[in-house]
């Protein structure tokens, strides 16, 4: 598959896999937020993505429908900074994917570009402020010019990881970590970690491979 990209149905499956992956990491994300925030990032993301699982069962046809359902569920159920920014990631992504009937590498790049733009606008942030935007930006750059879906997502996931690493050497200038100043150095940004989890889950879903009928192939 790969090149052909994912059908709407498989896109929904992929987004469910993403949700399950984030939910699994609740403690890791909470501990990261305890270190430089208020310790609720994990439980907030779990709230949001548990709602995503339900929402995806009821979402309409079209690639963008899955992304929109995901974004709205996050926006409505997560709360906090994460609810706004991760909700924006997927609703902005949905707009960028309007009309697409398969999700391919180009779609992923349009998703990442729209997500960055949306978050930057909503959060009033730019790269280097130690937020999830840094992971998005790294993922986007890593995915440039890779036209095979699995290759593109593999690069994007690796890029997101690099973005998390990069946040360790940044001083937070927004969010609850801002007041730590220097003391935020050395700690990764929890939201950036969530982005990495999301991109890795997309990659894993595509690498394992799934037919349009949802049967796993070798």
């Amino acid at each position: 598959m790969g090149d052909a990209g994912l059908s709407a149905k498989d896109t929904v499956e992929m987004l469910k896999a993403v949700a399950r992956a984030v939910i699994e990491q609740v403690d890791v994300l909470t501990d990261a937020d305890l270190a430089i925030g208020d310790g609720d990032h994990g439980i907030g993301m779990r709230r949001g993505f548990e709602a995503v699982l339900t929402a995806l069962d009821a979402c309409g046809p079209g690639i963008d429908a899955g992304f929109r359902a995901t974004g709205m569920a996050i926006m409505a159920n997560t709360g906090g900074a994460a609810g706004a920014v991760f909700g924006t990631v997927f609703t902005a992504g949905a707009k960028a994917l309007a009309g697409a009937d398969r999700l391919d590498a180009d779609g992923i790049r349009r998703f990442l570009a729209a997500a960055q733009e949306g978050v930057a606008k909503r959060g009033g942030v730019t790269e280097g402020q130690k937020t999830m935007l840094d992971a998005l930006a790294h993922a986007d750059r890593a995915a440039t010019d890779l036209n095979d879906l699995s290759t593109c997502l593999t690069a994007a996931a690796r890029g997101a990881e690099a973005g998390v690493e990069a946040t360790k050497s940044m001083i937070a200038t927004t969010g609850k970590a801002r007041s730590l100043g220097e003391r935020s150095l050395g700690h990764p940004d929890p939201g950036a970690m969530s982005v990495a989890i999301i991109m890795a889950a997309m990659r894993d879903f595509v690498l394992v491979g799934v037919t349009d009928e949802g049967e796993r192939i070798g």
């Binding site: 310790g39 907030g44 994460a82």
Partner: protein, 338 residues
């Protein structure tokens, strides 16, 4: 600190929604819950009234939702633990209190609250509803004076809601209510000290660690880092440390009339706060600053966190008028000047 704190709750994940039910019941008919939503509104918002919508994360009770009542907030959007409310909650709460004369959003300045309230404001403005936003930025420990827009909102909320609530009952245009709220926020300054941490029931984990002989001056209401972690000090020393940052910041000068708030973050005793108040008043008297009204109590909490914050607001005749009006809610009630 290590082991999960004992709390008298049912399922921790149901705590916020059950708390809201209990809060509405405690208001004796003054408020109601928007069905299926974490939002509380007054049962009797008069037609044509400028509406005041407050809100923020839960876990800080009685703020914010406990301040919905007479001459206070008309409604509140409640988030989950330490998490700003989602946009649709804010949206629905605003629609429920809107009486054709616009809505003032009043909340603490945190990235999460700012983004979620802004999203809701955009949705409402698209429908032609006039929305204004005033963010409380009283925490002097959070950023230098030239960056007040980066400052957190802490116990200044108490005076802000009291004044904006009274103004929204008295004045008949959103412009005017917004003007009063902006004047109030421009004149309020606070700083807190943390003595021991509170914990989020769902995780049972304290939001920060402090040694048995340490306190942190300037720590935020969610355990955000302060300006100095130091050894436990006498009450007078702690009071002086807070005043040394607060007084020059506005600055507060001889002859100024102020409102004074000592807010308990949770587990601190009233005795400690009153001993601190004694010292604060000694210093203010030396500086020639006149205290018009004092409030000592427990309003902006961080669960069972120990510590308190000191707030001063410089007053003029108009602000005094609104501060002195009576008010009633589960979390804050006053008979009013008689």
């Amino acid at each position: 600190m290590g082991k999960p704190v004992k709390k008298i709750l049912n399922d921790p994940r149901q705590a916020v929604t059950q708390m809201i039910d209990g809060l509405v019941l405690a208001s004796d008919g003054l408020t109601r819950r928007l069905s299926g939503l974490d939002a509380i509104v007054r049962t009797d918002v008069p037609d044509g009234k400028v509406a005041l919508l407050i809100g923020g994360g839960s876990g800080h009770e009685p703020l914010f939702h406990g301040f919905v009542g007479q001459n206070l907030g008309d409604g509140a959007a409640c988030g989950q633990f330490f998490a700003a409310p989602a946009p649709h909650i804010i949206y629905e709460a605003a629609k429920a209190v809107h009486r054709g004369n616009g809505v003032l959003f009043l909340y603490g300045n945190y990235a999460g609250d700012n983004m979620n309230f802004d999203i809701a404001a955009e949705m409402l403005q698209d429908e032609g509803i006039d929305i204004r936003t005033v963010r409380v930025t009283d925490d002097v420990a959070a950023a230098p004076p030239e960056r007040t827009h980066d400052r957190r909102g802490i116990a200044g909320d108490v005076l802000m809601i009291k004044i904006a609530g009274a103004a929204a009952t008295t004045l008949d245009s959103l412009d005017e209510v917004e003007r009063v709220a902006r004047k109030a926020v421009a004149n309020v300054r606070s700083m807190g000290v943390a003595v021991s941490a509170g914990s989020i029931p769902e995780t049972g984990k304290p939001t920060f660690e402090l040694a048995d002989d340490e306190i942190e001056v300037g720590m935020g209401a969610h355990g955000e880092a302060g300006i100095a972690r130091q050894k436990l000090a006498p009450a007078d020393t702690v009071a002086d440390a807070l005043l040394d940052r607060i007084l020059p910041d506005l600055p507060f000068a001889a002859g100024d009339e102020v409102a004074l708030v000592l807010n308990n973050l949770g587990a601190t005793t009233m005795m400690e706060m009153l001993v601190v108040n004694r010292r604060v008043r000694q210093v203010l008297q030396e500086r020639g600053i006149i205290v018009h009204r004092t409030e000592v109590g427990t309003w902006l909490t961080v669960q069972e966190m120990a510590g308190f914050s000191l707030t001063l607001m410089k007053l003029d005749a108009e602000l005094k008028q609104y501060l002195d009006m009576p008010c009633q809610s589960v979390g804050f009630s006053r008979m009013g000047a008689v």
